[in-house]
Amino acid sequence: MKSLGSIRRSFAPWADPNSVPFIAVKNVTKKFGDFVAVDDLSLNIYPREFFALLGASGCGKSTLLRMLAGFEQPTSGEIILDGQSLAGIPPYKRPVNMMFQSYALFPHMTVENNIAFGLKQDGMPKADIAARVEQMLKLVKLDKFAKRKPHQLSGGQRQRVALARSLAKRPKVLLLDEPLGALDKKLREETQFELMDLQQELGLTFVVVTHDQEEAMTMADRIAVMAHGKVVQVATPPEIYEAPNSRFVADFIGDVNIFDGTVSSAGNGTVEIATQTGFTVRVASTEPPAVGAKAGFAVRPEKIRVGRDRPACAPLNAAQGEIWDIGYLGDMTVFHIKLKDGKVVKASSLNAVRAVEDPLGYDQEVWISFDENAGVVLKD
């Protein structure tokens, strides 16, 4: 499963034991009164990495980001940036810039002055400031809007000003709190790729917070899935998707079918689980749970085959049911198949050809089946 990470890019400093993390979050806890917003959290983020924090609303993503920016102090634990502890260093002395969830553009300043704001604070010579601002405006394609005030811009344009402003100082680390939250789907997808290009071009480290899993999958080198102030899994998008380490992650990212059961045999790199649904699955597993232990089996809808004929592997990795629901999405079709015991399984198939002869219809008796490496065993 490890090899999946390298499909994306050959950039994988986290896999190299010799590489030094750029940001090291060490056992950080943040409490608001009695409420624990971030709970004993540890993370390593590497130079030039595009790192995403993904999790449900209220799980502590913004709080973690605000601790990196210096607006909140950890209750315990420490954060190290580029070999230096950030404890006690105020926000204005950190080589970190943040793009705010609300953009936080200065309403009394023009776009130009918003972008120049941080540079002026640093006492950069006027000519250099002008050059940098122009470059930033070009980068975010807002050259024509330099003299406007924020209230005269659209939501997407404002977001780009916020981005330009946070990038203008060339921070070592850029923190982005739901940077694309206010954009419509199309603009959001476009901007995702723009952000990725930008990050590559400038060679910066990005930490982006989002609760949109698709966004995280698209942009990030690695994703940290958070729940209740803890990190549940940190991995590349393909690993997170194909090899979730827990029921929570499997369920949180994408669609999944989970079959609960008991391990009936294990060995030879495979494990067999007798599911409560009545059939037995045989799965490839390098670290199988003990025989007799409770375990779950998670398999994604697109890895389930649906057909009228009894598959060759039956009764292993196969079950009979009837088509309960069909959702046609254009690029693919989603089937909801009701198994004998009433459990509904989701399966999807790509619509690779325009017209299928004799397509599957409602209430038909079908078989579902999947390969031995189609899913993963969940121990919890």
Binding site: A69, G70, F71, P90, P91, Y92, V96, N97, M98, F100, Q101, S102, A104, L105, F106, P107, H108, T110, F117, G118, Q121, D122, R148, K149, Q152, R165, S166, K169
Partner: protein, 303 residues
């Protein structure tokens, strides 16, 4: 029918503020101007000409012909009035500035306070209005007079060995105005600070501002509308203030409100006091109009 009724209602709603302006500002204002163009007379009312419906249109024209700007010329000839105007503007300006110095931190503190206690703080700011203004000004006499509370306190503490003479000086007037008008400054500043997005100052700090610089570059400029509103609410009534200079100020304190009161009550010279009031209004309104014009122009340029 219902449609007609609602159209009528809409029209009425628009008419109300205009009617208000007409009856409570424009008509009285024209009466004041009209009196200022008249002559003093020992009569009732104490000026000439007096319009009489019975004399018809011809009489009306005759009356108009009797109007003169003598009173205004008189105001420029006697240095007393010019001095009174200048000293009123000065005293109002200084007091407004002092009020701002005190009110801004108060408003800022209120806006920073936890939202649960803000209503209480707001109440406390308004609370003094519940007792009579006059009584509160009299109370200041008791505090400021040579054998008053303030001097007793300072003498007991050994800060001074001679009582301070504050009462019946300009300082007493400043104290009185600052005290009386403080809420009018605090409230607009508070409301402009309170609705400000906290993440703006965080953004400024993130971009390298110390908290103090962030205040001057972001918080303060954004609170300017509140500051301007507060300054006007204090400055304008302070220029024409009568009670405070009369009770707390000295005999040599010259303020236009006092002058006006003297003309009106002691001299019974209605036309001159009307002229004084008209000039006062012009002194206040014309700069404000220029200011607003400049502001709307600046706003338009931003577009």
């Amino acid at each position: 029918m219902a449609k007609f009724g609602s159209a009528l209602f809409n029209r009425l709603v628009i008419v109300i503020p205009y009617a208000w302006l007409l009856f409570f500002f424009l008509i009285p204002f024209f009466i004041v101007i009209r009196i200022s163009l008249s002559e003093t007379a020992v009569a009732m009312p104490p000026y000439l000409p007096v319009f009489d419906l019975a004399s018809g249109f011809g009489g009306f024209i005759d009356n108009i012909k009797q109007f003169s700007i003598d009173n205004y010329i008189w105001l420029t000839e006697d240095a007393l009035y010019t001095k009174a105007y200048a000293s009123s503007l000065w005293i109002a300006g200084v007091s407004t500035f002092l009020t701002l110095l005190i009110a801004y931190p108060v408003a800022y503190g209120m806006a920073q306070a936890p939202s649960t206690i803000r209503p209480t703080l707001l109440m406390l700011v308004i609370l003094p209005f519940w007792t009579s203004f006059l009584i509160r000004v009299y109370a200041w006499i008791a505090i400021l007079k040579p054998e008053g509370l303030l001097n007793q306190l300072l003498l007991t503490l050994g800060v001074i060995d001679q009582p301070l003479i504050i009462l019946n000086t300009n300082w007493a007037i400043y104290i009185g105005i600052v005290y009386s008008y403080l809420p009018f400054m605090v409230l607009p500043i508070y409301s402009s600070l309170e609705k400000m997005d906290h993440s703006l100052t965080e953004a400024a700090q993130d971009l390298g501002c110390t908290p103090i610089r962030a205040f001057w570059r972001v918080t303060f400029p954004l609170s300017l509308p509140g500051v301007v509103a507060g300054c006007m609410l204090v400055f304008i009534p302070a220029v024409g203030e009568f009670v405070i200079p009369d009770l707390l100020g000295g005999s040599e304190t010259l303020m236009i409100g006092k002058t006006l009161w003297n003309e009106f009550n002691a001299n019974r010279d209605w036309p001159v006091s009307a002229a004084v009031a008209t000039i006062l209004l012009l002194i206040l309104v014309v700069p404000i109009m220029f200011f607003q014009h400049a502001q709307s122009k600046a706003d338009a340029e931003g577009r």
